[in-house]
Symmetry: C2
Subunit: 416 residues, 2 copies
């Protein structure tokens, strides 16, 4: 059966770097693509660079320059995806299915000129439609586009998923299938909680919270884009036939009322500025230099002021701790703070679920469960559908298990 280009017969499959890390894996990806084609679907495949290619290219860049130009870095990195798409297209053709590879620019992906973190400004789908109409599987290089001047750009984190979602939106595809090295989204990291269960589906909003707070499957930027265009995304493993997890807007009523997962992140550090005068502009003075240094500040907690003096605590990625301290110390001194202290042995644990919006009491249950396990909560922050606690890294695994159990995540259909 042949379907017209675009619409419900079209699927965008995305294959991450680990799925195409070798010639053998590329042949297996080609087989999966050909099966979808044989099922009567049109396939646009978005492919990332093979395995550690991007890291190797960046290492080369560092060998020739301490501060490589972002435009050159983009063109350099883009070759990784380009190599992968040509090989995937060849492997598909070797199975007797016509295929063509396209770079981001050839696929019509136009972006801003912000090298290293370009935004898609539009997709000119003419070539894509022409190739699909000609009966080709179209294999598109992820993570890249071109500016109006035809300079190559990359999207930064979440790159290839952003390409897949953007193409699905532009082509009005029925589905994005995001093939990666995990079998879907779990109620917790299975390495921390062996009883973690794969979720059948999850809402965009829940996925965004999970992604930020530890799940590495799909960057929040890509999830956000999928939510914006209401593109359903199936997360599944390219190494198995397991059914995966569907990210979409129509989560069943049963699941809406549930807590969906426990996210964990051990790679953080905590910085506390002690004895800060409590006056307007203090927070901006502290965090603006960090932003200028490219450091993302995560959880921020400010104690209630005592005699117009307060303590301000925040977390950063552990790899950013040294630079953060260098940046913050002179500022803190300048504003008359007493001291700056840090702790690189903390971790984040979060409970996530749209169910929280409707039912109170989740936070209390979470704090009680952690206390019962003698886990001290150092900081707390919440969103509408998430509660996050900072705990000692040594207690992270235990915290995940305690919460997984208290919220009954192991079982398929119970409610809290």
């Amino acid at each position: 059966m042949r379907l017209p280009a675009g619409g419900q017969g079209l699927v965008v499959q995305k294959y991450g770097g680990t799925s195409v890390a070798s010639a053998e894996l590329i042949r297996s990806v080609a087989q999966r693509i050909c099966r979808a084609q044989a099922d009567g679907r049109q396939v646009v495949a978005v492919v990332s660079a093979m395995g550690d290619t991007t890291d190797r290219l960046l290492a080369l860049a560092r060998e020739v320059s301490d501060r490589p130009n972002p435009r050159e870095l983009d063109l350099l990195q883009s070759t990784g995806e380009t190599v992968a798409v040509t090989l995937v297209a060849m492997a598909i053709e070797a199975l007797g299915t016509p295929a063509i590879s396209l770079t981001g620019g050839q696929a019509g992906i136009r972006t801003s000129a912000l090298h290293g973190r370009a935004r898609i400004e539009g997709v000119d789908t003419r070539r894509l439609h022409r190739e699909l109409d000609a009966g080709n599987v179209v294999v598109v290089a992820g993570f890249q586009g071109v500016t109006e001047e035809m300079d190559v750009t990359t999207f930064g984190r979440g790159g290839s998923n952003i390409t897949a979602v953007a193409l699905a939106a532009a082509l009005k595809a029925a589905l994005v299938e995001n093939y990666t090295d995990v079998e879907g989204i779990y109620t917790a990291d299975p390495r921390l909680e062996p009883r973690a269960r794969r979720l059948r589906d999850i809402s965009y909003q829940e996925m965004m919270e999970l992604a930020t707070w530890g799940a590495q499957v799909m960057h929040p930027r890509a999830v956000e884009l999928a939510a914006l265009y209401n593109v359903p995304v199936l997360v599944a493993s390219s190494f198995s036939e397991a059914p995966g997890t569907l990210i979409h807007s129509e989560v069943t009523m049963e699941d809406v009322n549930r807590l969906r997962g426990i996210a964990a992140d051990a790679s953080i550090a905590k910085i506390t500025v002690l004895g800060v005068p409590d006056r307007p502009g203090i927070a901006a003075a502290l965090f603006e230099p960090l932003a200028a240094a490219g450091i993302s500040v995560d959880v921020i907690v400010q104690n209630a002021s005592v005699e117009r003096v307060t303590d301000l605590t925040f977390t950063v990625a552990r790899g950013d701790l040294a630079t953060s301290l260098e940046t913050v110390r002179p500022v803190a001194k300048g504003m008359g703070a007493l001291d700056v202290i840090s702790d690189a042995t903390v971790a984040k644990v979060s409970a996530v679920g749209t169910g929280m919006q409707n039912a109170p009491g989740y936070a209390a249950r979470m704090f009680r469960a952690l206390a019962a396990a003698s886990i001290n909560i150092e900081m707390i922050t919440t969103s509408e559908i998430r509660i996050t606690c900072i705990v000692a890294e040594s207690q992270l695994k235990q915290a995940v298990r305690v919460l997984h159990e208290v919220f009954d995540l192991e079982s398929e259909a119970s409610s809290p």
Copy 2:
């Protein structure tokens, strides 16, 4: 001193794969480019893929497909040059000189759609001029261009040199500097004849004969293009400061009358079709299937016919021998030939020089010198400025030395 873009202040430097095979070599290439820029010249640098990159990419292609699509192969291979130009541009910028890398397409190189051996149809120099006017060193990926549809093409053999010459012609540059791993063009291969001398200059025509007959420095297609646009090309080593050899049209009178070099090629094989009926169309019937199989036939000799039966001998690249025999045997049988025999232990030695055009006697001296050294000549073929003999491979080195001596190539300025 800053000069306007194009014209006499502009030089196109070309760096081959061995010249950019490592980060260290790339930094040294960047230094050479910056020196030229500091001398007040504008520089367009054309760069090949690092070291064995192209071979590695082709090996990957073979791992996923027995017969990779030429379009995909072109896009795949083009990434090798793209990686190299970004690294060279970064290395130049690290030395404080502004630089930008351009793919063949970005540099405006438009080609035919004949993948793997595309021809340049034109160069749109607008972006090149804009970047040069902005004070940038422009680093262009060699070997590649794009079709009207923006599909990436490659030029096949001689690729990056073709890019360099085409850009020099389009930008009206004063000179192409072809940096490679040899110090210039020699009177003979120094591995065969240690007394070989570097030529100060050589004509396009002589260079074409030398290139075909063994010198691997610059493919005849690139030399032909340089001759067509009268672009002078300096061949020099990127590993030394030796002055190199200038390929141009104005060879001095002194040198015009000389024999310039001895070329040698040991990688050939000889095929003889015995007892062929001597009637029209026989040669075409034999050679057309070889051409169809992509096999270049080189020296062809047909014996004088005896009783309307003749022997036909020709040479092919040694790597093509097996396929050639498979192709020729059924054809020869079909035309009633007695037998097909082959010899993979032969080699070619050639004497080259425009001087031959004006002075007879070179051939006689060559044959006499070889005979005096007991070297048997199996086949002979000549052009206006070249005499080629097929000899036993075991006697090739001796043949080169004998001819180098008899034509007095060791000394700078003697005439024959």
